[in-house]
């Protein structure tokens, strides 16, 4: 991919100015054949402006844009349209043109000015309508079809231009999830034919799932450029979006996932909180505390447990046990140390069996303990009364406070947990 022959697009030092504002600053990247590149970034980052300037629709204040080694601005209107197809964000198809008529517009650059579309052009239009599943709509006015159908018709139009490079500006905006994924899948198929697609996406997760490469834009600059897992990092998201996020592998979908939250309003100095969990009892507790900016530890958790996944997504210091085994001596030891060190310990609404009974015993080492009780202990005891007995002892201790999850969350939100 290094030789210029195979470069579909090369962008070097591009600045774009609208009025007296510099919208795009010093953007440089190249696009190889067959790449499916998602351009992401917050609103107003300059994504659409960048794309328009790459298509030659806006003048460049600085830099060069070369399409297959031709400067885009010196290509004629028709030649440019044979190399790059561009689907703009909001197309207003007025006057009730039919789907086929709109798709045929994509053939414009191939026709001499006095000529009409040939049978060849029609068959090409039909071919791409069949590809996007819009052939049955051929004779239907575009202003009478649904949003998803409309976008697919417009995609067929862009494809009918038969260009090696395709620009799509938020083709999935205002579509239902199913249709969004559909558009991305079509793009993947197109790229498999060695065409290159540049797509502006507002949904980072979808872009990460389908694109071969992402370019993250913020305030007109490229913040990151690379594979989805290189680009979607906590640091990049914070830099680009000012967003507090946790990036993790979603176990259900097998895709990169992002959890975002609001940063706490006041900069507090919260103490450390240790959460004793298991079986999903600690997940929402960890999340809420993390979002409040608490320093967290947790234990002893089982690998593969929901709580363990949540803890790793938020980079919580976890004492990890082994699956289907009783808590080992070493882990019990570490857990007790962390409990003793923590300013506050939270004991989740856990079910107790022989394997995790030690978590309950360890809770006695806390200076200050909050016990979450949503269901009575009798319903959570699978040890034949041992756990219930211990639990009864524990909640009678002076340093212990019992409350429901709901009460606890109320306190977390008001910042009353973790403060000394």
């Amino acid at each position: 991919m290094n030789d210029t022959e195979s470069l579909a697009l090369s962008v070097a030092g591009v600045d774009v100015q609208l009025g007296d504002r510099l919208i795009v600053r010093d953007c440089s990247f190249t696009v190889g054949r067959g790449e499916f590149i998602g351009i992401i970034g917050p609103n107003g980052a300059g994504k659409s402006t960048l794309m328009k300037s790459l298509r030659g629709m806006l003048p460049l204040a600085a830099g060069t844009v070369r399409v297959f080694d031709h400067p885009i601005h010196s290509l004629g209107d028709k030649n440019a349209a044979r190399l790059v197809a561009y689907m703009q964000q909001e197309v207003n198809v007025g006057f009730g043109f039919t789907a086929l008529e709109v798709v045929l517009a994509g053939r414009y650059s191939y026709l001499k000015w006095w000529r009409n579309e040939s049978e060849h052009d029609r068959s090409i239009a039909r071919k791409y309508m069949a590809f996007t599943g819009t052939e049955p709509l051929a004779d239907k006015p575009v202003n009478q079809v649904s949003g998803g159908e409309r976008q697919r018709i417009l995609l067929a139009k862009v494809l009918a231009q038969e260009t090696p490079l395709i620009f799509l500006d938020e083709p999935t905006a205002s579509l239902d999830l199913v249709y969004q994924e559909e558009i991305f899948r079509y793009c993947q198929t197109i790229c498999a034919e060695m065409k290159s697609v540049l797509l502006i996406a507002h949904d980072i997760k979808l872009a990460a799932k389908f694109c071969s490469r992402l370019i993250l834009l913020a305030e007109g600059r490229i913040v990151a450029d690379g594979s989805p897992d290189e680009v979607i990092t906590v640091e990049n998201l914070e830099r680009a979006y000012g967003l507090h996020a946790a990036v993790f592998m979603n176990q259900v979908t097998g895709n990169l996932d992002i959890h975002t939250y609001e940063a706490p309003a006041q900069t507090q100095q919260p103490g450390t909180v240790h959460v004793i969990g298991g079986g999903g009892a600690a997940a929402s507790i960890l999340r809420a505390l993390y979002e409040q900016g608490c320093r967290l530890s947790a234990g002893v958790l089982q690998p593969g447990d929901t709580d363990a996944d949540v803890a790793s997504a938020f980079a919580v210091d976890v004492v990890m046990g082994q699956s289907f085994c009783a808590i080992g001596a070493a882990q019990a030891e570490t857990n007790r140390r962390k409990i003793a060190e923590a300013d506050v310990v939270v004991l989740g609404n856990i079910c107790y069996g022989q394997q995790n009974l030690d978590n309950l015993q360890a809770a006695f080492f806390a200076h200050k303990l909050i016990v979450i009780e949503d269901t009575p202990i009798s319903e959570r005891d699978y040890t034949g009364g041992t756990a219930a007995g211990l639990y009864g002892q524990l909640v009678r201790q002076a340093q212990v406070e019992v409350m429901t999850s709901e009460e606890f969350m109320g306190r977390v939100v008001t910042g009353k947990i973790g403060k000394q």
Binding site: R55, D77, R82, A85, V93
Partner: protein, 347 residues
């Protein structure tokens, strides 16, 4: 807006037959009733048809009425109606607005000013040609001014063009009014007669004056119809598929403005044809301009001739001028269309 589309061949056949029918009716009807076969005989003889209709011998009076009075009038009606219908459709396409017509960029106002100048200089009594010629010059100058005012860096933003059109129309309208206040009553009447567009007293000279630019203009516009289809999708879209937008927008505007001006200069202002006809045809056969423009030409001609014939027959011996009839029938129908579109949820 688009309901069931009709079969295009069927529509064109129907329109062709309708035009033939209305033309014959327009030639036959009037103060002097001429039977259809005599009409055919007169026209056939003048066109050098070798076949004489058996048993039909038109009287010299009939010949004079048909050939010197009604035929030029009918032909002017066909030309003007076709020109207004096609130009209206083109303007609506270029501006992406179903309410646009050539008047919007100053054609009518400019033509009026030209006409009023011709009248006030007393040129109309010297030659029949002066009034249309001045009207044509006025219209072209007004359009040129509008375009020049809105052009910046070789680009013409549609919104600026519309506003410049309004400004130019108002300015020329004011000048026209100013001249009118200094005119004597006789000339005032003459101008008023022109203002309320009509087909009466149109002669062959009027046909000769209009036929060239109108026919050529309509042909050019029909050839450019495919480009208009693209332009209607919006400037960005048109550029994205490789169209030199500024060039084609300019070309379409100028050709349709000159076509309209040539028509208006022989007939005076006639409203609503350019607005109603494209609107109806778009509903019947869809927005594809390659069939829409020819259909608008035919329908415009039919509509204008029908209105003229009705205007002649309604209160004989007086005539209601065609500009009044088109407005009286066009405006309510247009309002009805608007109401229906509102009910169906937007235009």
């Amino acid at each position: 807006m688009a309901g069931k589309r009709l079969n295009k061949k069927l529509v064109f056949t129907a329109l062709g037959l309708l035009l033939a029918g209305v033309t014959l009716a327009s030639l036959a009807a009037g103060q002097v009733k001429v039977p259809i076969e005599s009409v055919l005989a007169v026209v056939g003889r003048h066109l050098g048809s070798p076949v004489e209709l058996p048993g039909v011998v038109p009287t010299p009076e009939q010949i004079a009425v048909i050939w010197h009075i009604r035929l030029p009038r009918t032909l002017v009606g066909v030309l003007v109606g076709a020109a207004l219908g096609v130009s209206g459709a083109v303007m609506q396409g270029v501006f992406g607005n179903p309410l646009a017509d050539p008047g919007i960029i100053g054609v009518s106002a400019g033509a009026s000013l030209g006409a009023v100048i011709a009248v006030s200089l007393g040129l109309t009594s010297i030659s029949l040609y002066y009034m249309p010629l001045f009207a044509l010059i006025g219209a072209v100058l007004a359009v040129a001014t509008t375009v020049a005012l809105s052009m910046r860096d070789g680009k013409i933003p549609v919104m600026t063009l519309l506003l410049a059109g309004v400004a130019v129309s108002m300015f020329t309208g004011a000048v026209t009014s100013a001249i009118l206040t200094f005119m004597n009553e006789y000339r005032l009447r003459e101008f008023l007669f022109w203002m309320v567009g009509g087909l009466d007293y149109r002669r062959w000279e009027h046909v000769y004056l209009a036929i060239g630019p109108v026919v050529v203009g309509i042909l050019i516009l029909c050839v450019l119809a495919r480009h208009l289809n693209i332009l209607v999708l919006g400037e960005q879209e048109a550029r994205a598929v490789g169209m030199p937008v500024a060039f084609f927008r300019m070309l379409l505007l100028c050709v349709s403005a000159v076509t309209t001006a040539s028509a208006v200069c022989v007939s005076g202002s006639i409203g609503f044809v350019g607005l109603v006809v494209p609107h109806i045809m778009r509903m019947l056969i869809g927005p594809e301009h390659r069939s829409l423009l020819p259909a608008c030409a035919l329908t415009g001609a039919i509509f204008l001739l029908a209105c003229d014939t009705v205007g002649r027959l309604l209160i004989p011996p007086a005539e209601i001028r065609v500009g009044i009839v088109t407005a009286l029938t066009g405006a309510p129908y247009f309002l009805y269309l608007l109401r229906r579109a509102q009910k169906a949820g937007g235009l």
